[in-house]
């Protein structure tokens, strides 16, 4: 029997059914080898769930069955069951290389593990599956079945369910390629039904998973607030050249300053994204964004500003009642008409900047220097959409990353049609976001309090999308 004080649960199944994917997603471990070459997992791999150094739950990835029909035949011939059968099997076959995988997968069971039998129910039930389930029934360990759909095909499900009813008391669906945090928690909750005595330990593990998830949300909120605190009041200075025509030298300096302003913010955004990705433990694989994801677009591209941020109506409603936001409100509402206001930035960057909702992206001032010459100062941005677009992109990136299952190695995160998050929250929250961003941008004495409020609001918003 087990010398462990915590639940040990082996994930068992036929090769290529997604055992490693299930574990990778459940434990957020992208170091697990997941691919479609059968026999990739040759040894048991242990996933201890540790809380302050104490293991409260241990999951084991096992190799797939390689000789189910031969083993079943042998087992039936022995007339044994339960642990006696398991021990006899290991004694008989552990020295035979062709049974290496089968012996390896039985090892955790010999150590007292319960088991999760993982099957891909998008395929028909085969004779080997029947054999594997019968082997597990004969060994008689606490067990449950997890249905992992590798394809969307559900036609074979009734067939499988019928077979499961003969061998398992607990059955749960879990799509290792799409499971989000609630689904992961639900699977962990189901583990309690395998063996009642493990309930307290599994509860502790679940609490720790929940705490850890919430903690990471708070950290993401802080990362985003720090990013906004840096980007919103940002100014860039560019010396005006002394050669040639003064007007064109100023224009060149303004162009360079604006480019630098945009580049700095884009670079800082990349750092933010890296931080979020690291927090969500997507370390090893290069996640590619969906083909039409607005995150693939540059922060200052037209499509970004069309897809993200608030609509003009929302902006008017959100800005209303903000006191000093009257100008902002009017700009938001009629920005497209007030060509003069965006002419500066628009002309400077060479194309129209209509997508900045009529207002210029960042203030551009020319300042004379005491010892002669002048410099151009770009920023801070007074555009009401600016903080909203920055926020929306950060939240969108979080949604993509936090909801990307670690077992999904396709490299594509979900393609979600409605990309803006902020357009779909309550108007009162939109107003609150706008107000706090404004306070942070102004960097006055109440900015610290605004940061804290924004972090709390963001944590709550992130909680609704992951």
């Amino acid at each position: 029997m087990s010398h462990r004080n915590h639940p040990l649960i082996a994930v068992i199944g036929h090769p290529n059914e997604g055992k490693s994917s299930v574990l990778s997603t459940l434990t957020e471990d992208d170091s697990v080898v997941v691919n479609d070459y059968p026999g990739e997992t040759t040894h048991c791999q242990y996933f201890p769930v540790e809380i302050n150094g104490e293991v409260v739950l241990e999951l084991v990835d096992t190799p797939g069955f390689q000789n189910p029909q031969r083993i079943l035949e042998w087992m039936r011939a022995t007339g044994k069951t339960d642990d006696a059968l398991l021990q006899a099997f290991l004694q008989q076959f552990s020295s035979q290389p062709e049974y290496h995988h089968d012996c390896e997968l039985m090892q955790p069971l010999a150590q007292g593990a319960a088991l999760i039998f993982v099957v891909d129910c998008s395929r028909p039930l085969l004779a080997v599956d029947e054999a594997e389930m019968e082997i597990l029934r004969l060994i008689n360990k606490p067990r449950m079945a997890v249905i992992n759909f590798k394809d969307q095909d559900r036609d074979y499900l009734p067939q499988w369910e019928q077979a499961f009813r003969r061998h398992f008391n607990v059955i749960r669906e879990f799509n290792a390629h799409q499971a989000r945090f609630p689904e992961r928690l639900a699977l962990l909750e189901t583990l309690k039904a395998i063996q009642q005595s493990w309930e307290p330990m599994i509860d502790r593990a679940i609490t720790a998973f929940e705490w850890n998830w919430q903690n990471r949300r708070e950290q993401v909120a802080e990362l985003i607030v720090d990013y906004l605190s840096w980007a919103l009041p940002l100014t860039v200075e560019q010396a005006v050249g002394r050669d040639g025509d003064k007007a064109s030298a100023e224009k060149d300096a303004a162009k360079q300053g604006l480019e630098q302003y945009q580049r700095l913010i884009s670079e800082r955004e990349i750092k933010l994204f890296e931080g979020i990705r690291k927090l969500y433990l997507h370390n090893l694989f290069d996640l590619r964004l969906a083909q039409h994801s607005v995150l693939k677009e540059d922060l200052f591209s037209e499509s970004t500003w069309q897809v993200l941020g608030l609509t003009q109506t929302q902006m008017v409603l959100a800005a209303a009642g903000m006191g000093a936001g009257v100008g902002v409100t009017l700009e938001a509402a009629f920005g497209g008409l007030s060509a003069g206001l965006f002419a500066t930035a628009g002309a400077i960057i060479g194309g129209g900047s209509v997508w900045f909702l009529g207002d210029e992206l960042a203030k551009i001032r020319i300042k004379k220097l005491p010892l002669g010459g002048s410099k151009v100062i770009v920023g801070p941005s007074k555009n009401p959409q600016f903080p909203v677009v920055l926020l929306d992109r950060a939240i969108l990136y979080y949604r993509e990353i936090a909801n990307h299952a670690h077992g999904n190695r396709g490299g594509e995160v979900q393609n979600i049609k409605d990309q803006s998050v902020l357009r779909h929250i309550e108007s009162a929250e939109q107003k609150q976001f706008l107000k706090l961003a404004k306070t942070i941008a102004e960097n006055k004495s109440d900015a610290d309090s605004a940061r804290q409020q924004l972090a709390e609001l963001l944590t709550a918003t992130l909680g609704t999308i992951s």
């Binding site: 085969l126 720790a208 708070e218 433990l281 309090s449 940061r451």
Partner: protein, 523 residues
């Protein structure tokens, strides 16, 4: 999750000082560059070592303990706290000296006496007392506002800090262009950030300390003035009188003087602590008139009045405010709650749980294989064509045969077998397998046995791989020329080729109807 232990007191002094705050910010600034996980581990350990029970202002005590531990673990080579302490002491000394020198200078100017014209008390009061009275008035207003929560001095102090930061940045910016190294400039920038953080986060504290420094200057000024007057009085004999263009009325002056003398009137009365109306009349300096005819008893009463004015309206308020700011600093430090935005991360880290669900490292690798077994085209099938009976449950026989006839150009009879071991043939034979399923060891071993048996007869084993069957209920019987299932993906075919390659059976020939659309899939 380890929680607070019993109410064991903290092992270190849990009171804060300004220097501690600077050190605290210095450590936190350094932490911004560190890995969050490492920080969480360290701060969690410090939290657990704190062993502190629930108490008021718990966060302040815990953070003080954290600072003590951090100072033990990683002493700063350049201790910003110590630097601040030294800077404040030096500033206080400088301000005291500057104040003292100003006091001496101003008092000696006001006490100028060449024997012809008496020292003008009105001028003395205007220079040394009136400004201090104005300052006192402002101070009272400030303190009154602070009682209702409006920190006026803090708002006056803001421009000073902004100017200090601007000067600091300008200095290093210009230094960067000249003699300072990049590292020095970066260090200075970090110190600038530190200053900025301090100015923002502990504004009332630093405003209070700035106020205290100004009081030191005031104390120096008044001490200087008093000392100067006393020394001059001790070594010279001077006559005192008064003179003003605003009024020539001795009654008005007497009223003013009596009012000013109110604070000490209980101790020294008229004629001692302040001049009487007659003495004021007798010591009025008139234009073109010297002071030789003033009676000594009349003018000598002025200097105690002057000294007492400086003492009461200059020195004592400064001392009082200095004491208030000293007490207030202690109160402000005790009342630190550390609940601002920037204080949350440390709190979160201290209360964090070391959580991991990651796999233990494993050295085991999957098996290696290279692709050598070639994939054959489906060609004319010969006499023996076998299929497992279990497979036939998923692929209708009629459909399978029709597809084979169409694909190979020959009519073939499919012979069902229960197990691979049942297959017995002395001639080359075809075996239909479900290629969409990965080959497992028992299948491969049985194929090897079959191939070994056939090779002795110089016969081949043709494996025909089928793709995934169509789901139950899908209408494939209507057109029997269609393939019996989905085509095999290139990837599935490749997996079989690799696995068969490991068997090293030259007479196994692999046939599959591969979906061209999946040709790009590779291992």
């Amino acid at each position: 999750m380890k929680q607070f232990q019993d109410d064991t007191p903290l092992a270190v002094d849990d009171r804060w000082s300004l220097a501690d705050l600077v050190r605290f910010e210095q450590y936190r600034l350094q932490d911004q560059q560190q890995d969050e996980e490492q920080l969480a581990l360290r701060d969690r350990q410090i939290f657990q070592a704190a062993a502190i029970g629930a108490s008021p202002n718990l966060r302040s005590r815990l953070y003080r303990f954290w600072l003590a531990k951090r100072s033990e673990q990683q002493p700063q080579s350049s201790d910003a706290g110590q630097l601040l302490q030294h800077s404040l002491s030096l500033s206080a000394l400088l301000m005291l000296l500057v104040g003292f020198a100003s006091g001496v200078g101003l008092a000696s100017s006001a006490m100028v006496y060449d024997g012809s014209v008496p020292v003008n008390v009105a001028l003395f009061l205007a220079l040394l007392v009136l400004p201090q009275l104005l300052l006192l008035f402002l101070l009272v207003i400030t303190l009154t506002f602070s009682l209702v929560g409006k920190q006026l001095f803090a708002s006056w102090y803001q421009p000073f800090t902004s100017m200090a930061q601007w000067l600091w940045n300008r200095f290093w910016k210009s230094g960067a262009r000249q003699q300072f190294s990049r590292e020095q400039v970066d260090d200075a920038r970090i110190r600038g950030q530190l200053l900025n953080q301090l100015a923002q986060r502990y504004k009332p504290l630093f405003a209070n300390r700035a106020m205290r420094l100004f009081q030191v200057m005031g104390i120096g000024f008044n001490l200087g003035a008093l000392l100067c007057v006393l020394v001059l009085l001790a070594v010279t004999d001077r006559a005192f009188g008064w003179q003003s263009s605003l009024t020539t009325s001795a009654e008005t002056v007497h009223g003013l003087v009596s009012t000013l003398a109110l604070p000490w009137s209980w101790l020294w009365g008229e004629g001692t602590g302040w001049p009487s109306l007659q003495q004021i009349l007798n010591t009025q300096i008139r234009l073109g008139q010297g002071g030789q005819d003033f009676a000594a008893a009349d003018f000598r009463v002025w200097w105690p009045f002057m000294l007492l004015c400086v003492l009461v309206y200059g020195l004592l308020p400064r001392l009082l405010v200095w004491a208030i700011t000293w007490l207030r600093e202690g109160r402000l430090l005790d009342a630190l709650t550390f609940d601002g935005y920037h204080d949350q991360a440390l709190w979160r880290r201290m209360h964090s749980v070391a959580f991991s669900s990651q796999s233990l490292p494993s050295d085991h690798q999957g098996e290696a294989a290279t692709v050598q077994t070639p994939l054959q085209q489906i060609s004319a099938s010969e006499s023996h064509l076998f299929v497992l009976a279990d497979t036939l449950k998923r692929y209708p026989t009629a459909g399978l045969q029709a597809w084979l006839s169409q694909s190979t150009g020959a009519v073939s009879e499919v012979q069902p077998i229960e197990r691979l071991a049942d297959l017995a043939s002395n001639h080359s034979c075809w075996l239909i397998l479900e290629g969409w399923q990965p080959p497992i060891e028992e299948t491969l071993q049985q194929l090897k046995q079959l191939a070994d048996g056939l090779i002795r007869q110089q016969a081949d084993l043709h494996l025909l791989l089928l793709g995934k069957p169509l789901p139950p209920g899908s209408d494939s019987d209507g057109n029997t020329s269609e393939r019996p299932g989905k085509p095999l993906s290139a990837r599935q075919a490749e997996v079989w080729r690799k696995k068969l390659d490991l068997l090293q059976c030259a007479n196994i020939l692999l046939h599959a109807d591969v979906d061209a659309a999946t040709a790009g899939e590779h291992l």
